[in-house]
């Protein structure tokens, strides 16, 4: 229990008792320099204390006196006690004086506080009583006992709690003598004082004394929670007999004591056996609570009784028992848990599987492996799941064996387990199993396990050596290769490419088909050329639709930026005419919509005259026009479409799109963006001045992506960053390039949500660190464009909610600027 310094010998005492006279006498004996230093140090403290004592005793301001008390709290000695004590009845300064006196060691402070009891009143007196309790000095007890007769409520309460904190025999006796208080509030305060004494006794090991107090209070009429607290104390003070008290309460109640006994069941020592024996004799609700408590005790002595309850009629009890076995059980409990896992469903099965993953006593992994032999299939499945969840790597040889010699659900479970457990060195053995399977389905399962195992090894160790897989794919049997080819789909490395390309030309037709299927599922954009070639190859007709779908996916997915725009368009121009069915044409159109540049607009336009997909083509054209950065081209295409179409709805949609583009025309809408960038603990304001890679001259590898234009008719000019990235307390960058025919002045009008920093050709030209919405007056920045390409970089901060910007470029007078073009491709942008 924490006590304040007073009971200890203060270390400063000796030093600060020296006065100047003594110091100078010492000088003669111990040398001038040393003594002078010592005397200066001592004189400093003495002078300071005298100084602050003086402040307390004169007409200084309350602020000065308060500051003196603060100094004296840390450095004051017995000398300052009278000055501090004189303030104890001062309404303004009593608390300041107590701040110092309460923790000042030594009998002088104690005496002064006790003396002030007769000189203070009201709140000030209550404060003094509290300080005496904090100091825990028995000297105060007689004075405090007198205060138990005080009519003032606060005085009484604090006297009771302070006597409780001091906890001497006398204090306790006095408190007990007031247990017959008729006023219920006072009685409660006396009980609290008694509890404090008993608690101190318990902490000091005086159980007998504590027990007497708790019993006395227990037998008093009082509020229920006090009764329960007394009961709690009795149990804790009764040693081994306390367990009997708990057992009695659990069996016979009343309910509040039963609850308290269950609470104590989590912590009271030497109680496991008695509590476990109770289990068969209490109702299900109590059984659940007891099982939970026994689990928290972490004492396996309760296991037999808990195992019996896994067969309870009550499902809550069964689940509680099974759950507890995870913490308490050993390998001996595995058969019970496996049985439950294999014969049930729902929450109890989940609980059993969870317990199986946790059991650590005995030799559970070995026992589980031993149980495999001769077990029923359902049982084997659960054993295999348990081994996987336990990361039982040592069991892998047996699992490999089982995978080869079983089928159906057991084989599937064995493969699932192997996928999680197989190490790099065991990978070749798993690959070999693919060849030993007798059916396509078996081989497919084994191959899936190989893929999963590779991913698992990669995740845990950052790298996986695929050599066993490549060897099998180059040299294995056709059946084996057919099963393993899907592995290549998830990879983007040279070996996978090489294997796929070779397999597409394989002499075995099944291997060729499997290779094409794998190609259709590939994530590797480098293979897109191979796909395009196959689209035109009649030998791959069976996969025509899948190949077109793969082509579109690869050329429009996120990392398609490695494919040059011009190359991509050439491929689309090659593939588009090869689309035969409406479904294939629709897929091509969807890809063109995602690319949304001028060539894709033209290509989409060619589909308008194709009756089979004329509606979809119209929608694609309109959609592309809405987001096309080149406003003139979009307007021309829409105008042409409007004049030619016979579809009323399509015409209306096109007219709406035209309005949108016109509204947007004055704004720069050709941008790339990169981000988001964050730093832990930094908000949008602080991030404004932190330089992330896009604003550093030498930064490499920044992922710049096209920023789509808005198709919201209300804010067609807004470039929306939130839609692309989401989030709060971050920044993103946007860049574009402005080509000017000659040198000219202009003006940028910038709206941003939230703050914006602007660089033109590498120089910061504008900063506004703010939180604001997008609408409202724009920031105006005068600029000078140099002839040729000018790089414009924005940094936009994000506080919360909306995030975006809008930029207009006008001439110096605010009118339409001439002779400029915009582009945001990498060729023009170097920062």
């Amino acid at each position: 229990m924490a006590r304040v310094a007073p009971k200890q010998k203060p270390s400063l005492q000796i030093k600060t008792n020296m006065n100047l006279k003594n110091c100078f006498r010492l000088t003669v004996a111990s040398g001038v320099f040393f003594a002078l230093t010592l005397s200066v140090a001592v004189a400093d403290d003495n002078d300071n204390e005298s100084h602050y004592i003086g402040i307390l005793q004169t007409q200084s301001s309350p602020a000065e006196k308060d500051a003196a008390c603060v100094w004296l709290k840390r450095h004051g000695t017995a000398q300052c006690v009278p000055a501090l004590a004189s303030l104890l009845n001062d309404e303004q300064l009593s608390h300041s004086a107590r701040y110092a006196l309460e923790s000042l060691p030594g009998p002088e402070a104690e005496k002064a506080l006790i003396a002030s009891l007769s000189q203070t009143s009201g709140l000030q007196k209550a404060g003094v009583i509290e300080s005496l309790g904090i100091r825990r000095d028995e000297q105060a007890v007689p004075a405090l006992i007198k205060l138990l007769a005080d009519p003032d409520e606060l005085t009484f309460r604090v006297a009771a709690s302070s006597l409780g904190d001091i906890a001497s025999r006398k204090a306790l006796k006095a408190l007990e003598s007031h247990l017959n208080e008729t006023d219920q509030t006072r009685k409660r305060e006396i009980i609290d004082g008694c509890f404090r004494c008993a608690q101190a006794d318990l902490a000091a090991g005086n159980r007998k004394q504590a027990l007497a107090v708790y019993k006395e209070i227990y037998n008093q009429p009082a509020q229920e929670f006090l009764h329960v607290a007394a009961y709690r104390g009795m149990v804790l003070a009764s040693g081994r007999k306390g367990v009997d008290l708990m057992v009695d309460a659990i069996l016979n109640g009343p309910a509040p004591l039963q609850m308290e006994a269950i609470q104590l069941a989590h912590e009271v020592p030497n109680a496991t056996g008695a509590l476990a024996k109770l289990l068969p004799n209490v109702n299900p609700l109590t059984q659940v609570a007891l099982i939970d408590a026994l689990g928290q005790r972490n004492d396996p002595a309760a296991v037999p009784e808990i195992v019996a309850l896994t067969k309870s009629e009550n499902s809550d009890v069964r689940i509680a028992a099974v759950t507890a076995l995870g913490t308490l059980g050993s390998d001996k409990e595995l058969p019970v848990l496996i049985d439950i896992a294999s014969t049930t469903t729902g929450p109890i099965q989940t609980a059993a599987r969870q317990a199986l993953s946790l059991i650590h006593r005995g030799n559970p992994n070995k026992t589980l492996v031993d149980m495999l032999a001769g077990a029923k299939p359902e049982t084997q499945v659960e054993i295999l799941k348990a081994l996987a969840s336990r990361s039982a790597i040592a069991a892998t040889p047996q699992l490999l064996q089982l995978a080869q010699t079983t089928d159906g659900q057991v084989q599937d479970a064995a493969f699932e387990a192997l996928a999680r457990l197989v190490s790099q060195s065991q990978l070749p053995a798993l690959v070999q199993i693919v060849d030993q399977m007798k059916t396509d389905a078996g081989r497919a399962s084994a191959a899936q396990a190989v893929v999963a195992a590779c991913r698992h090894i990669q995740r845990e160790h950052d790298t996986v050596d695929m050599a066993p897989v490549w060897t099998a794919l180059r040299n294995g049997s056709p059946d084996m290769r057919v099963a393993l080819l899907p592995v290549c789909s998830g990879l983007t490395d040279t070996t996978a490419r090489e294997v796929l390309r070779a397999s597409i030309k394989d002499s075995d037709s099944k291997v060729r088909a499997a290779a094409i299927r794998a190609l259709c599922d590939t994530m590797d954009a480098a293979l897109v050329g191979d796909i395009v070639q196959l689209v035109g190859d009649s030998a791959a007709d069976e996969f025509h639709t899948a190949l077109i779908e793969a082509f579109v996916r690869l050329t429009t997915q996120d990392d398609a930026t490695q494919i040059q725009d011009s190359t991509r368009m050439q491929m689309f121009q090659k593939v588009a005419p090869l689309a035969k069915t409406p479904a294939e044409k629709r897929v091509v159109l969807s890809g063109l919509v995602m690319i949304a540049d001028a060539p894709s607009l033209e290509l989409a336009g060619q589909f308008v005259s194709d009756e089979a997909v004329t509606n979809e083509a119209a929608r694609a054209v309109i959609s592309i026009c809405r987001t096309l950065p080149d406003a003139a081209a979009a307007q021309a295409a829409l105008a042409k479409f409007i004049s030619e179409t016979k579809d009323d709805q399509a015409r209306q949609d096109a007219e709406a799109a035209l309005k949108l583009i016109e509204a947007r025309a004055k704004y720069i809408t050709v941008w790339q963006y990169a981000g988001p960038y964050r730093q832990a603990g930094k908000d949008y304001r602080a991030l404004f001045d932190i330089a992330f890679p896009p604003e550093k001259a030498d930064a490499q590898g920044i992922d710049w992506r096209p920023l789509p234009t808005s198709d919201d008719p209300k804010t067609p000019w807004a470039m929306d960053l939130l839609k692309m990235m989401g989030g709060e307390q971050e920044v993103a960058y946007a860049r574009t390039s402005i080509h000017s025919n000659g040198e000219q002045s202009g003006q940028l009008l910038i709206n941003s949500d939230d703050g914006v920093k602007v660089w033109l050709n590498g120089e910061v030209i504008h900063e506004h660190n703010v939180s604001r919405a997008l609408g409202g007056k724009p920031d105006k920045v005068k600029i000078t464009l140099k002839p040729g390409w000018n790089n414009l970089l924005l940094k936009i901060t994000q506080n919360n909610m909306g995030w975006g910007f809008a930029v207009r470029l006008t001439d110096a007078e605010g009118a339409q600027i001439q002779s400029v073009q915009y582009a945001a491709s990498p060729a023009h942008n170097q920062m």
Binding site: P62, E260, Q263
Partner: protein
């Protein structure tokens, strides 16, 4: 439940917010009923109360529902037999006093961090909670939330995956509370605000226009208990404390009896740790953890799943859920008062060192500084009557 303190934190817990991780907060939970809101600001307590009553009115289809009451003084909540739990989200200078009074009134308690502003107060809270057998949960929710990052770090470190633990870099150092200047010029107290009650056990001074929750903080009193709580947990030091506290530059640090040293600063070059976390350095690697991330050097240390034979610690997937479960079942909560006491003490010891700017020796059993009278005087701060406990 009664909610005391309806600023950002309190409202977040009551109605739902980023760190409470339960949609709709406590009000959204069907297993409890909010019967009282309490704040020294009238507008806060009234608007929260109305929002509670409106929500229940809609939920139960009873337009006349008005069971929630708004109080200015939390003692009304203590007097109510029909309220089982007091939720404390006041400024920190009130936390200890209110928690002790709540325990003595027979309430179960959830108390925001820092759980105490002096070491003696922290011990008094634990004593009161144990005296009355109350369920107490400290608002150091990192043991339960954030995807189990901190729990896993505890399991990996205690299972020896980084070898023998040598050092911890706590990112933040110690904290304390200061005795404020008392006699400035006052300003008019706004209508509907009880300044005297806001001050509570702190010394009285005239209203100066500032009622920010952390205006009395020294150092890392606000965030520090989050860091030091998970450090105690991960090091396996719950229930114990350091034996030496020292300064490195202007940062407080401490050392346990077995030599493990905790530095109150980030690990050099390690970005992870700012968000309530720390970096643990052992003989075979290190682990850095905070709310957003758990990483190790080498990387495998945290990638391999925990095995059954390795150390498992208290599992709680929801801090509020764990609290309520323990109120119902009387199970020991994950951040019980004894854990809060040693975590708060670890923080506050640093606060003493920061103020004295020198090395201190601490006896974690006696809860006293050894041979250091000046430091021992800083174990307490006298409370203002009538807020005496």
């Amino acid at each position: 439940m009664g909610f005391v303190g309806l600023g950002g934190q309190g409202s977040g817990h009551l109605f739902g917010g980023a760190w409470t991780y339960v949609a709709g907060g406590y009000l959204g939970r069907k297993e409890i009923q909010v019967l009282a809101t309490c704040d020294v600001w009238q507008n806060k307590r009234d608007s929260a109360c109305k929002r509670v009553n409106d929500a229940y009115a809609e939920r139960y289809g009873d337009a006349n529902y008005k069971a929630c009451v708004a109080y200015d003084d939390f003692r009304h909540i203590l007097d109510r037999d029909d309220i089982d739990i007091m939720f404390i989200a006041t400024p920190p200078h009130w936390h200890g006093t209110m928690a002790i009074m709540a325990a003595e009134a027979g309430k179960d308690i959830y108390c925001e961090k820092p759980t105490a502003v002096s070491i003696a107060e922290s011990r008094a809270i634990l004593n009161a909670v144990r005296r009355y057998g109350r369920i107490y949960q400290a608002g150091t929710q990192q043991r339960s939330e954030y995807g189990g990052n901190f729990r896993r770090a505890a399991e990996f470190v205690q299972s020896g995956r980084i070898g023998k633990l040598k050092e911890v870099y706590a990112y933040r150092d110690g904290g304390a509370i200061f005795w404020p200047p008392r006699f400035g010029e006052g300003k008019p107290v706004p209508n509907g605000f009880d300044w005297d009650l806001w001050l509570g056990p702190m010394p009285f001074f005239p209203f100066d226009g500032k009622a920010a929750a952390h205006r009395f903080d020294i150092g890392e009193l606000n965030w520090g208990q989050h860091h030091y709580d998970i450090i105690q947990w991960i090091c396996g030091k719950d229930g114990t404390g350091p034996v030496e506290i020292f300064m490195e530059g202007d940062r407080s640090c401490y050392r346990y009896a077995d030599g493990v040293t905790v530095y109150g600063k980030p690990y050099p070059g390690e970005p992870i740790g700012a968000d309530g976390g720390a970096c643990f350095v052992g003989t075979e690697g290190r682990i850095a953890v905070d709310r957003d991330a758990l990483i190790s050097y080498p990387a495998d240390i945290v990638r391999e799943p925990l095995r059954p034979d390795e150390t498992h610690v208290y599992y709680s997937p929801s801090h509020s859920g764990n609290f309520l479960e323990c109120v119902r079942t009387r199970k020991k909560p994950i951040c019980d008062a004894d854990i809060a006491h040693t975590s708060a003490t670890a923080l506050l010891l640093g606060g003493v060192a920061k103020q004295l700017k020198r090395t201190l020796k601490w006896d974690p059993v006696a809860e006293q500084f050894i041979n250091d009278d000046e430091a021992n005087r800083m174990l307490t701060m006298a409370k203002r009557p009538p807020w005496l406990v």
